[in-house]
């Protein structure tokens, strides 16, 4: 199975989207620290970044919900 076929199957796209959201949320947090002065807005943007990470985590968790106990090693 090629990488492309694999990416389109088995719920890999949801997993991929989840991990991209995790990285994007971290990017928002880092950018906030670098670019925004110490104001309440900075805390808000950091929390927004963490919210994006939470969405990513939910997607990744959902992509793994199907039990795989019967699969071959």
């Amino acid at each position: 199975m090629s990488w492309v076929t694999l990416a389109m199957s088995e719920g890999y796209s949801m997993k991929l989207a989840g991990f991209l959201l995790l990285l994007a949320g971290w990017g928002i947090v880092l950018s906030t620290i670098m670019l925004i002065a110490p104001t309440p807005a900075r805390t808000g943007f950091v929390l927004a970044g963490i919210a994006v990470e939470a969405l990513g985590l939910i997607l990744v968790a959902r992509s793994h919900l199907e039990p795989k106990g019967e699969r071959q090693g």
Binding site: W26, V60, H64, P67
Partner: protein, 435 residues
């Protein structure tokens, strides 16, 4: 960039540090016993051998290249500048400890402690992968953890990296603070455990056709509880040495560290007892043991800066959290984690890191401390989890990590080692396995 000045320790501090670091292997022994006890009897010898093997691999790989990525405050590092502020992202030490004089200097003590700590972090995923993770694959995965993931994050926290400098560079309190490794040891290990539980999938027979989990009880509560006691001793050493080396705590503060560590574990175990008694009508040994260990994991971050009463709060929340999270992972997310590694180490550690931001009282500039801790947690979830998952998924493509169906049915001991841990005992584990 000119490296930050390395902390200088008094002779008594050096002597105490050596004593505390000598205790740390007891934490590893404790975690190994907990993992073995919570797994099946047919995998007990495999579990203990895997523990010894990953400690060996972790120490060796850390010696070869891990410390050269992690470094220590005052040692050379790769730095880039953003808006006039330096971001130290990785150390620039030569491999094989060649930049270190192993003579009791602060950097050499830190390297020794880290060589043991990375083994501790590598033991954590074994709990999540119990009964189905091949020995060779667990060693290969450990090499990735000890050679790249752990040193990178540990540099950011303990090696003068950008997380530690958030206070100086961006006015966030004292920067990200973690004395004993709630984040760099516990959460990094716990998130790797989560990645492995996802990649390996649940054990055969864990989930029925209706999607509900079947109970596969651990084979020895005695091993688990003995492991908790050993882990306690090891954590006393880990937190005390970390407090001196990484937060510059005075030697007298070790008393506070020991009291906080003990209180956090004790209150977590008591909270676990109350929660499981209310839920099941009787205290549950394995969940109380998870509570105890979760209390230890949560204690590490703030052990040198929290008051004892605050350590009790940290422990109580950790004990309740681990008991609740174990059920949530098993029933809600269908994550099969026999050793409770994810709830204990990942969630317990994250709570410990955040609790420091909420509860700690520093003298001087303290505003923004919670935000600094929050940035650390965001880095763990947003960067370390994808990194460790990606590395292990890639490894799984070339070197399948899960044992074959026959091997799982047979038991890891017989399949991979050729002999059971308890050959003279009749065991009933087959009743848990779907045929």
């Amino acid at each position: 960039m000119t490296p930050l000045p390395a902390p200088v320790l008094s002779q008594i501090a050096v002597a105490l540090c050596i004593l505390f670091i000598l205790l740390v292997p007891l934490a590893a022994a404790g975690l190994a016993l907990i993992n073995a006890g919570l797994g099946r009897a047919h995998s007990a010898a495999h579990s203990m051998l895997a523990s010894l093997s990953v400690i060996a691999v972790a120490a060796t790989v850390y010696f070869v290249c891990g410390f050269s990525w992690q470094g220590f405050i005052g040692q050379p590092a790769h730095v880039f500048t953003v808006g006039g502020r330096a971001w130290s992202w990785i150390a620039a030490e030569p491999p094989f400890f060649r930049g270190l004089r192993l003579d009791g200097s602060t950097a050499s003590l830190a390297a020794w402690l880290q060589m043991l700590s990375v083994g501790l972090a590598a033991l954590i995923p074994l709990g999540a992968g119990a009964d189905r993770w091949r020995l060779g694959a667990s060693c290969a995965s450990t090499a990735l953890l000890a050679g790249w993931t752990y040193p990178l994050f540990a540099h950011w926290v303990w090696g003068g990296g950008w997380l530690a400098q958030l206070g100086v560079n961006y006015g966030l309190g004292r920067g990200f603070v973690d004395a004993g490794g709630s984040s760099s040891i516990q959460v990094v290990g716990g998130l790797t455990a989560l990645a492995m539980a996802w990649i390996l999938g649940p054990r055969r027979g864990k989930y029925g056709s209706n999607g509900l989990p079947n109970a596969i009880p651990g084979h020895s509560a005695v091993l688990v509880l003995a492991g908790c006691m050993l882990a306690w001793l090891g954590w006393l050493g880990l937190n005390s040495a970390g407090a001196i080396l990484f937060t510059g705590a005075e030697t007298g503060r070790v008393v506070l560290v020991a009291v906080n560590t003990t209180l956090s574990a004790a209150s977590a175990a008591l909270a676990g007892t109350v929660v499981t008694s209310m839920r099941f009508g009787k205290p549950d040994a394995s969940l109380i043991a998870n509570g105890w260990t979760g209390g230890l994991a949560a204690s590490s971050a703030g052990c040198a800066v929290l008051d004892p009463a605050e350590a009790v709060i940290v422990g109580m929340v950790a004990g309740g959290l681990t008991a609740w999270a174990a059920d949530w992972l098993e029933f809600g997310l269908k994550v099969d984690d026999p050793g409770g590694a994810i709830s204990v180490h990942a969630l317990g550690g994250i709570w410990g890191v955040l609790a420091l931001g909420v509860l700690a009282q520093f003298s001087g500039q303290t505003s923004g401390q919670f935000l600094a801790q929050l940035v650390g947690v965001a880095t763990l979830i947003g960067f370390v989890l994808p990194l460790t998952y990606g590395l292990n998924l890639l490894l799984n493509r070339f070197y399948p990590q899960r044992v074959s169906v026959d091997g799982e049915r047979q038991g890891m001991d017989l399949h991979e080692l050729g002999a059971d841990a308890y050959p003279e005992f009749v065991s009933h584990s087959e009743e848990f396995i779907q045929r």
